[in-house]
């Protein structure tokens, strides 16, 4: 499918989706509540079949957190980027996609560890790199540690 066809498909499913084509890939920004049903459709639709989640991460924009999902279809060789904007930075929550792509299990644990995003219905949400009793979320922009030195 071309980007235009993917846009039409997603616009029909999620009318509130915002599209951005300024970068290398087609970016689609949605609300966190709409993530799970859309992702299921993207994975299972034969025309799209995004079977490979190659990058899952989060960006802290201070007033909101942006979850970023890079998807690729091995069959059709198209790439899209789904972004979910989480506005509540004090208690960020989003549905897990680890039931759709198994690789999301580890990637979401990493995001939880470093950004503090709660993934609802995640099978095993624990800290991945840091100690269990670590305080704070290191990749947040407001994180301070007494050992951090400004260069």
């Amino acid at each position: 499918m071309t980007n235009e066809e993917i846009k039409l498909f997603i616009a029909a499913l999620v009318p509130t989706a915002a599209f951005d084509e300024s970068g290398e890939f087609l970016n689609i920004v949605i609300a966190p509540e709409e993530l799970l049903p859309l992702m299921k459709d993207l994975r299972n639709n034969r025309e799209l079949s995004f079977d490979y989640l190659f990058c899952l991460t989060c960006i802290d924009w201070k007033d909101h957190l942006m979850m970023v999902y890079h998807l690729l279809s091995k069959k059709h060789k198209h790439v899209i980027v789904i972004k979910a904007k989480i506005t509540d930075v004090n208690d960020p929550k989003i549905e897990t996609v680890s039931g759709i792509w198994k690789t999301a299990n580890f990637h979401e644990r990493e995001v939880y560890d470093l950004f503090g995003v709660q993934f609802l219905n995640h099978p095993d949400l624990r800290r991945l790199f840091l100690m269990d009793d670590w305080e704070g979320w290191p990749l947040r922009k407001n994180y301070v540690d007494e050992n951090m030195i400004e260069i």
Partner: protein
């Protein structure tokens, strides 16, 4: 949760042991917690973070020239290729390209890195599975490759040779001559690798049918590189999304359908020959000219997001830079190949014996600093 795991035994007869972080076969500081029933593995849980240095956070305070060198310390066996990925990503943001000479130098260096990495892997795989001699055979050739690196880059492990726009210095005058000698040596000696290990009956029994993963699961777990190609998943970034002019070079994407440890072993062995072939095609065709394109002293990327992927010796490395227009990146994410490959270890090891786990880890070719970052 306690390390000993007395609180997590759920069934009678179940036994929990900790493998690592200092176990020799983990090739670094990886800690696996294993649930056993007799000698059969019921569950494997990796515990990570023993070498977590937060390279992503560090990079947020480094300039676009400096952050590249931190990535040499991620997958230290593919240091060149990590640097290349970052340099390419910065170039994508600046909308420039490396000079033709630099592009060919980069391919040559990347393939030499792949050879040296696969040689180390081959030696260690033998060592893990009880064969000591392969280690010395592999290091004979690896040493020769590293000597070439040292001559041109001044370092043997963390080369820091790639910079935005090209490479840091020009090639050493001896480079072409020595590469040709080493390629001849590798081609002459590679049959020894197969004779000593590939056909060995103990080795075959320990790897054939062990650690199976299907093509569908490999994609779902995000496996890349030889791990996925051994299950028949085409995923070579050099073919799918060519960079640096890989589209002009003749080579084959090695695929196998076995999906087990032996298939992963064979894919890497056959990949070595492809790397030799790529180097031989290019070594006499290095274009003359500048080795570095002109860039500003202080690099500032325009506002936006840039994603670049390359094929390291272990799979697909993705560099995701988010820029807000400043002189250092706003956020960097490294999608490292080992991280995703490791997540499949429980799937591969379930139901196998504890000795098989060593074979699985050996053929996954894990480098722990790349997982922890």
């Amino acid at each position: 949760m306690s390390l000993l795991g007395e609180d997590i035994i759920t069934e009678e007869g179940e036994f929990v042991i900790n493998m690592g972080p200092q176990h020799p076969s983990t090739h670094g500081v990886l800690h696996l917690k294993i649930w056993l029933d007799g000698e059969t593995i019921k569950r494997v849980q990796p515990h990570l973070g023993y070498i977590h240095r937060s390279i992503e956070k560090m990079s947020e305070n480094l300039s676009y020239r400096n952050f590249i060198f931190a990535t040499s310390r991620m997958d230290y066996l593919s240091a060149h290729i990590n640097n290349e990925a970052c340099a390419l990503c910065v170039e994508k943001g600046l909308q420039i390209e490396a000079t033709p000479r630099a592009q060919v130098i980069r391919i040559l260096m990347a393939e030499l890195t792949r050879l040296s990495s696969h040689q180390l892997w081959w030696g260690c795989t033998g060592l893990d599975l009880g064969a000591v001699t392969p280690f010395f055979y592999a290091f004979r050739e690896r040493e020769a490759v590293l000597a070439i690196m040292e001559e041109t880059c001044g370092a043997r492990l963390t080369m820091n040779y790639m910079v935005p726009g090209g490479v840091m210095y020009d090639l050493h005058p001896n480079f072409q001559k020595r590469v040709k000698e080493v390629m001849k040596q590798i081609k002459n000696n590679l049959h020894e690798y197969f004779e000593i290990l590939t056909g060995n009956v103990i080795f075959e029994n320990r790897t054939k049918g062990v650690g199976y993963i299907s093509a569908e699961d490999a994609v779902s777990y995000g496996c890349t590189g030889p791990t996925a190609r051994a299950s028949g998943v085409s995923c070579d970034v050099r073919k799918w999304f060519p960079y640096e002019g890989y589209e002009k070079v003749q080579f084959e994407e090695i695929l196998d359908t076995g999906g087990d440890c032996y298939a992963r072993y064979m894919v890497r062995m056959r990949e070595m020959l492809q790397s030799v072939s790529i180097i031989e095609q290019l070594i006499d065709n290095i274009p003359e000219g500048d080795f570095q394109a002109k860039t500003k002293n202080v690099i500032k990327l325009p506002k936006g997001e840039f994603y670049q992927r390359v094929e390291t010796a272990r799979g697909e490395l993705g560099v995701f830079i988010v820029s807000d227009g400043a002189a250092s990146p706003y956020r960097i994410k490294y999608r490292s190949p080992n991280f995703s490959n490791l997540s499949a270890i429980e799937h591969m090891a379930k139901g196998a014996k504890i000795g098989d786990l060593i074979a699985i880890m050996a053929t996954l070719d894990l480098v722990i600093p790349d997982i922890d970052r």
